[in-house]
Amino acid sequence: MSEAAIVQQAPKAATVRPLVWIAVGIGLVVLCAAPIGINAYWLRVLTTVLMYVIVTQGLNVIVGITGYHAFGNGVFFGIGAYACGAAMVAGMPFAAGLVLSVVVSAACAFMLGWPILRLKGHYFAIATVALNLAAIQIIIQIGGITGGAQGLALPLSEWDPKPLYIALYYLMLAGAVASTAVVAILLGRPLGFALRAIRDSERAAAVMGINTTKAKVYAWSISAGLTGFAGGVWAYWITFIEPSSAFDPAVGVKAYIMLIIGGMGSILGPVIGAFALEIVSTLVWSGFLHAHQLVLGVLIVVVCLVAPHGIIDAFARLAKSVRRHNGAA
């Protein structure tokens, strides 16, 4: 992983960077204009894609940058959804609910992080999965304002469906841009350097004077805050949430796969991964209604075999070998 990161960063600088900026600019313009030209179905698909961009960027902070494989990070998606849902049922406006989504998710990660981030490698990965599964049971037991096993119906918006869905699309888009910006800014800050040092060698990072526990807890809180935001918007979009859908472990797992497809620890990797997987799986869904999971499973296995460091890295290697080949000839 670290070797790939070095390979990626070295030759970029002068030639590639302007091209990347142009591509990002064009992509943003297209996404901003998209609601005008597409039907309700594709608006829904794109909103889902952008939601996954946020969740995957959140995952990128803890997995890609810090090297802690939070396989069950979907728990914060559920916490965000329930924070927003419960707040709105209690009479608060959507904006306040959304703020609570971020704050409550980040606070949960902050508190859970102190004991759980002591675990390493696989142990941390499965502890987060356990958290994700336990959250379902805890919500069912709490009942009350969370609705328990019966689920929670959010107050309906006074807006008409069409402008509402477009507004939610732009909200997800804003979240996706913001979460990508958070990752970009984080990478240039001291905390970002500390986290990457932890990823490459936690002991060495500690020796260099980094308070590793504190840095990890901060990273997970940022990750949870971003994921919680996506959950909050999702709850209002879906309007009815229940423990098994809000805390669906597949959310975290899917984001993890997107992160691998896009490339861990990079800024735009999660965006590319989310678009690639979600759009491909939507097409697979409509093309192979009865065997879509089978086809999706095969795709996942093939991608992992062919491009274990992500699409960007695979293309970079391919381009390099082509260039070398041409140079020799």
Binding site: I116, L119, Y123, A125, A134, Y256, L294, V298
Partner: protein
Amino acid sequence: MLAQATVNGILLGGLYGLATVGFSMVWGVMGVINLAHTSFITLGAYVTYVLFTQFGVDPLLAMPVAMLAMFVLGYGIQLLILNRIIRTSLLLSLVVTFGIDLVLTDATVIAFTSDVRSVNASYASTSVAVFGTLVPLVRLIAAGLSLAIGIAFFVFLRRASLGQAILATALDREISNLMGINPQKVFALTAGAGAALAGAAGSLSSMLFPVSPTMGVSFLGAVFVITVLGGIGSVEGCIVAGFLYGLVQAWAAYWLGTNFQEIVAFAMFLGVLVVRPQGLFGRAFFGEHA
């Protein structure tokens, strides 16, 4: 009632232990968390179901066939897919096995539909008295055979040269390679054995539980908890932890109600992870360094 709950919990715990041994071994030896493991349980149950309904084979006689079929499947998947993945990144194995699980589960649905089926052996409704409580015979058989298979696997690892090759690879991959052990083959063998044990567990559970494409997934929580509780890669730990898990589950249901079963299980899981991550019987296995 308490005695009944206790006996039932212990008997079910034996089966949970068997369902976990393969998962724990695969994790311990090559550091792969095999999310497709529960699919092997499901497929083992379906092999038994097909043999029972189509050919009238007794479920207990169908079990070796299910084990053999799962061995071949596990061996093949490891050789063709996972051995390539292990060379790049261990955590990538989580994603790949998730993909394999999707394929196997969907293939099961396509082949057998999602209908719930059952395997009713002629002795399914017979009960026997154990310590003054009445226990269904099939549960007793399932627990007894689980324990026997678990012990047999333990002895295989300690006594047979193939078993010792597996243990040596788990302890030190590089040195065992220098000793002439081919890790690729050992990995495939371990994966095959792990799948075969899961197949046995599935075969036995087909007599106890309804057979459906999702029956394996219902074991997932138990498999994770027992693996960590027993110590990753420890066969004896798995068997003891299986009984312990069954017992705790039964008592939680008895005193707190069935709603609390899973909460108690997860609390136990997180508690063990934080306080004693190596588990009750855990030692330095490769999976711990990964």
